[in-house]
């Protein structure tokens, strides 16, 4: 019978501890931070958590927002995708946060999406992604494929005269979609089927011998060849090492990567990488006053003069600034009001110029191409003239070329089919 | 063309009306002991890494006989039992149970189902079960998965268990965990498990190790009373014990039969004396 008491006691304790959270005074504006602090994604996401905390601190120094202080609520979804949904629900129902900054992987965003839409929350997603999505409740401050992949290919094609293409990626949705878009784009530009090689590898792939040797063979056909890499995280180091060891230099076959930034390079011996490329909307090396200030603040905040900044951090920075502006404009943190106020918000980029939030919840940003230097930084070698508007639905995919996203009246829809004039797949 | 012929020939063979398909053939047939021999072991060979554990071993056991196997360590006694019960595969040779059951083709449970029970050298009982449960599990019943799931003890079976409990003297301990029994009691329990399963052939490996003199005596009594209705093969080192029960004794040496006969015959056998010179025989 004692077990009974134990079990019932436990149940009660569990119930009580959960109930007691509900009612907390709301004299602050709560900012939810939904980034993994443990597990495989902690490497990348912890930085973004710290960025949000830094922004919150700065905002509070400026006197807060609407006369209230900001309060960050940090939870740890532990790189576990179902846990993202659970923690999002916790943030919205228990902590009643006014906005969430969070997510890194696509799957984490996909996991959170139904919850955010059900509970009408507001989330800022700061990482480059595959597009093909536009939710009323999410603002995408990272790059869409047309803000990263397509300009990069343009650069290779026009500036370096690349004719043969290796699209190498880790086997998940972002590389798949990006490569689909690129393939369609390249073919539209007249590249023959036989001049495109597509290759997928598993997460954390470490034995690149065969693939690099294939790339080498593919590149020895007398036409200028480049690798467009959507290889994810950990797999990059062995990939570049193998490239270096098999004698493929960046002049022979340049690699342009979309997932390699300053943070990733800080753990790599960059010697074999020098000259390879990356496409982002931000590089730490960009010389601008705003950037210098940001970097100084960041190093001071984190207490480590060697820490680097990267593109998702800038995306968080822009997202946060836009949100504060939108809240000021709306005069409230009410999600619907802020959502409408967000559209058209302008915020200076760290790299110069001004980012604008479009009707499709994506940003207009400049695109930069940088070459990796031996100090782990990028040297900008090319940039777009003016800004590129993020495109939620790619024009190069058959399924989505008729879709647009427009969150202003009268369409007010994330995936509006311009042919059938219908709006589908909305969760509210 | 010839392939086609082969195929039709095979097809014809397959459809012969005078034969039942092998997999449809009932496996459980009564043991055929019309020649009075219940166990035929012929030309058995087995080697482990070059060591010949069994070397062209031949052995015939009559139905209802009580046979003792003796021999030094490594003579192949336990290995022989392993081969008979299907635990170990031999390299060559044949083992028949009665005239119609080739034991080498069968797995341990099938051999057990044929009615060959075994007691191990080291007492092996289910320590996490009670004495009663140990016996219940040993009952001669349908041992398929579903019948076992739905099994209920019948009054006859209960009586049988009670009876055996009486025989092995563990009536008091019926609800005690087998793991809590003394060594001797475990020996008895294992014998009880054999009894309750009503086997045709009992293979008993060192039954009296760790028993008191009194218990040994009772064991001897029990084993002799079993012979006749059952066939019993006993492996034992205790010569006193062997003398007290044995009618026929087989001496194994280096994996083959060295001598066979009554205790006295064996003891006076020249080869045996030569091999065991200076030993107790």
């Amino acid at each position: 019978m004692k077990i009974k008491k134990l079990v019932s006691g436990m149940a009660l304790a569990m119930g009580a501890s959960m109930v007691s959270y509900g009612a907390l005074a709301a004299d602050t504006i709560k900012v939810g931070v939904l980034h993994s602090l443990s597990g495989t994604m902690a490497i990348s996401e912890t930085t973004l958590k710290d960025t949000v905390l830094m922004m919150v601190e700065e905002q509070n120094k400026k006197g807060g927002l609407l006369g209230k202080q900001l309060e960050a609520v940090v939870v740890d979804p532990a790189s576990n995708w179902p846990l993202f949904a659970e923690k999002a629900r916790e943030l919205l129902t228990k902590d009643k946060v006014d906005v969430i900054f969070g997510g890194w992987t696509s799957v984490s965003r996909k996991s959170v999406l139904p919850v955010i839409e059900e509970l009408n929350g507001l989330m800022f997603y700061p990482v480059q992604y595959e597009g093909e999505e536009s939710s009323k409740n999410v603002f995408y401050t990272g790059a869409a494929p047309n803000q990263q992949a397509i300009p990069a290919v343009d650069y290779l094609m026009n500036e370096l005269g690349v004719e043969r293409w290796v699209l190498a990626g880790t086997d998940y949705v972002y590389p798949r979609t990006t490569n689909k878009i690129l393939e369609a784009y390249l073919k539209a530009k007249g590249v023959a089927d036989s001049d495109i090689m597509i290759n997928y590898t598993p997460f954390g792939h470490s034995d690149w011998q065969s693939i690099v040797s294939d790339v080498k063979k593919f590149g020895s056909k007398g036409k200028k060849t480049a690798v467009v890499s959507t290889i994810n995280g950990d797999a990059n180091v062995p990939f570049y090492k193998e490239l270096g060891n098999q004698g493929i230099s960046s002049e022979d076959i340049p690699v342009v990567a979309f997932s390699v930034g300053e943070e990733e390079l800080s753990g790599i011996d960059t010697k074999p990488l020098v000259g390879h490329l990356a496409a982002w909307n931000y590089f730490q090396s960009v010389d601008s006053e705003a950037n210098e200030a940001f970097i100084t603040n960041w190093k001071a905040f984190i207490g480590n003069p060697k820490r680097v900044t990267n593109d998702p951090m800038e995306a968080t920075y822009i997202g946060f600034n836009m949100w504060t502006q939108a809240v000021k404009k709306a005069g409230t943190t009410d999600v619907d009001a802020v959502e409408q106020a967000m559209i058209g918000q302008k915020s200076p980029n760290l790299t110069g110029g001004v980012a604008v939030m479009n009707k499709n919840h994506h940003l207009s940003k400049p695109v930069l191409i940088g070459e990796i230097q031996d100090d782990g930084q990028f040297e900008v070698v090319w940039e777009t003239e003016g800004v590129v508007a993020g495109d939620a639905w790619s024009d190069f995919l058959p399924g989505s070329k008729d879709l647009i996203s427009d969150w202003t009246s009268p369409i007010k829809c994330g995936n509006y089919n311009t042919v059938t004039r219908t709006c589908s797949g909305q969760n509210f | 063309m010839s392939a086609l012929e082969n195929l039709t020939a095979e097809g014809k063979e397959l459809l012969r009306r005078d034969q039942v398909w092998p997999f449809l053939m009932p496996k459980q047939q009564a043991v055929d002991v019309s020649h009075q021999v219940i166990l035929y072991v012929e030309g058995l060979n087995l080697s482990f890494d070059g060591f010949k554990a069994l070397n062209d071993l031949n052995l015939y056991i009559n139905d209802g006989e009580l046979r003792c196997l003796i021999g030094a360590n490594g003579a192949g006694k336990t290995t022989l039992m392993d081969v008979i019960t299907g635990k170990t595969q031999c390299d060559s040779g044949t083992v028949y149970f009665g005239q119609n059951h080739n034991l080498l083709e069968r797995s341990e449970p099938e051999i057990a189902e044929l009615g060959i029970g075994r007691k191990f050298q080291k007492p092996t009982v289910f320590e996490a079960h009670t004495v009663f449960d140990n016996l219940e599990l040993s009952l001669k019943t349908n041992k398929g998965v579903m019948p076992t799931l739905l099994a209920r003890l019948t009054p006859t079976q209960l009586d049988r268990i009670d009876q055996v409990l009486e025989i092995i003297g563990l009536k008091e301990q019926r609800f005690m965990l087998a793991g809590a029994l003394s060594h001797g009691q475990k020996q008895w329990l294992e014998i009880g498990m054999l009894l309750v399963s009503e086997p045709r052939l009992l293979l008993i490996d060192e039954p009296v190790a760790g028993m008191t003199a009194q218990e040994t005596e009772r064991t001897a009594e029990l084993l002799t009373s079993l012979a006749g209705e059952h066939t019993v093969i006993v492996v034992e080192h205790d010569m006193e014990f062997v003398r007290s029960i044995a009618r026929t004794v087989t001496v194994l040496h280096q994996g083959s039969v060295l001598a066979e006969g009554t205790m006295d015959q064996v003891q006076n056998n020249k080869d045996v004396i030569e091999v065991y010179l200076g030993e107790e025989a």
Binding site: G15, T93, D171 | -
Partner: protein, 399 residues
């Protein structure tokens, strides 16, 4: 005679609810508590206003539902490990397969409400340019068929794997490593986008189940209640099985497989049967888990997950059904609390838990509880102890 007769009859259904001292004695109270908590929590969510201090939020309900499906998963592992001594490091695979089957049904229920508005294809197939539904997705729009698959696919996999493994006597450590390889191979396979299961993203954005909106509180409460009921049901069934002669054979196989074989039990058949049974419970747990958390992806196949399940069971006490459930609930609750307080410390705590439990609590918390109870009960009656051998035997765990 009559005495032993009654001892045989002790497993009849009515006795389940009045047993004393034996593990059977835990069935009735546990089921009663479980159902009571379920009813109270559901009522508190549906009937009370949000302002009431006793209101239970939907978040809590969903969380409880998740815990309960984990408990069911732990039960499945316990049945095969605690009772039969087969340490499966791949039960996460069956859980995930069940989850995927349910996920496929839920995906099909979306119909043309996907973002691309395709009448049949799930979104991820549309943007991968698939023109038609792969054959294995056919029929998954029917609830009954999907539920059949929830049981059939993991069951079949368990059957094939078990049949191959147990027949050739792969045991102990080898088996554990093979089960781990199995779930690892499935992990890699489900990561592949060509498999048609949504790759890394898995299946998500579910809308409704059997026509009920998955977002509504009522549906969530209902799912929670169904999970509780299924847990109770599988608990009672497993208890009944473990008390039957089959259960005894299973324990006998754990402690002396060779002996059981010499008694005429085809132990491989028993093991396969139990393995399939256990896999099916895991699959049901997975199927209940998915609609509640709203996503299923290959991460569930990861070998680490499967090992974690084992530790729930070890913490609670293997070889006792209640132990597995208590372990799963406690560890998961601790995980939820701990990761919120100190995310870095959690892995230290979890790691230490593994080491300490194996070193000092081989019988888990239930073992400690029993020891304490026995300690306090000792002066009263010694006969009580001797009449409860099953309890001892059941939690005796030698592997």
């Amino acid at each position: 005679m009559s005495q032993s007769l009654s001892s045989i009859a002790r497993f009849s259904a009515s006795d389940l609810f009045k047993g004393k001292g034996q593990p059977g004695g835990r069935v009735a109270p546990f089921v009663a508590i479980l159902l009571a908590v379920t009813v109270l929590a559901s009522a508190a969510n549906l009937l009370l206003p949000e302002s009431s201090p006793f209101y239970v939020s939907t978040y809590t309900i969903t969380l409880l539902g998740k815990y309960l499906s984990y408990a069911m998963l732990a039960l499945a592992v316990d049945v095969i490990w605690g009772y039969c001594g087969i340490l499966s490091l791949g039960h996460g695979a069956f859980f995930a397969l069940g989850g995927y089957a349910m996920g496929m049904y839920l995906m099909r229920q979306i119909g043309d409400r996907g973002v691309y508005g395709h009448p049949e294809l799930p979104d991820f197939m549309v943007f991968l340019d698939w023109s038609e539904l792969p054959w294995y997705w056919l029929g998954m729009d029917q609830f009954w068929f999907a539920m059949l698959m929830v049981l059939a696919v993991p069951g079949l996999l368990a059957y094939i794997f078990g049949w191959l493994a147990f027949r050739s006597r792969v045991t102990g450590v080898y088996l554990s490593i093979m089960t781990q390889a199995l779930t690892y191979a499935l992990l890699l396979a489900f990561f592949r986008n060509e498999m048609g299961f949504g790759g890394n993203n898995g299946l998500t954005d579910f809308k409704d189940i059997l026509g009920f909106d998955l977002q509504s509180d009522t549906t969530r409460v209902a799912l929670f209640a169904i999970t509780a009921l299924m847990l109770a049901l599988t608990f009672i069934t497993s208890h009944w099985i473990m008390q039957s002669r089959l259960g005894k054979v299973v324990v006998a196989i754990r402690d002396g497989e060779a002996r059981a074989r010499f008694l005429g039990y085809r132990t491989d058949n028993f093991k396969v049967w139990l393995f399939v049974y256990s896999a099916m419970i895991a699959a049901i747990a997975g199927a209940l888990y998915v609609p509640q958390v709203g996503i299923i992806n290959p991460g569930e196949f990861s070998p680490i997950n499967s090992i974690e399940i084992v530790i729930w069971v070890a913490v609670g006490g293997r070889g006792t059904l209640i132990g597995a459930i208590v372990g799963a609930l406690l560890v998961n609750y601790a995980k939820t609390r701990f990761t919120a307080i100190m995310p870095d410390g959690w892995l230290f705590a979890l790691g230490a838990l593994f080491v300490l439990v194996t070193l000092f609590l081989p019988k888990g918390l239930v073992g400690v509880y029993d020891q304490l109870k026995a300690h306090f009960a000792q002066p009263q009656s010694k006969s009580d102890e001797s009449s409860t051998p099953h309890q001892e035997s059941a939690k005796e765990a030698s592997v």
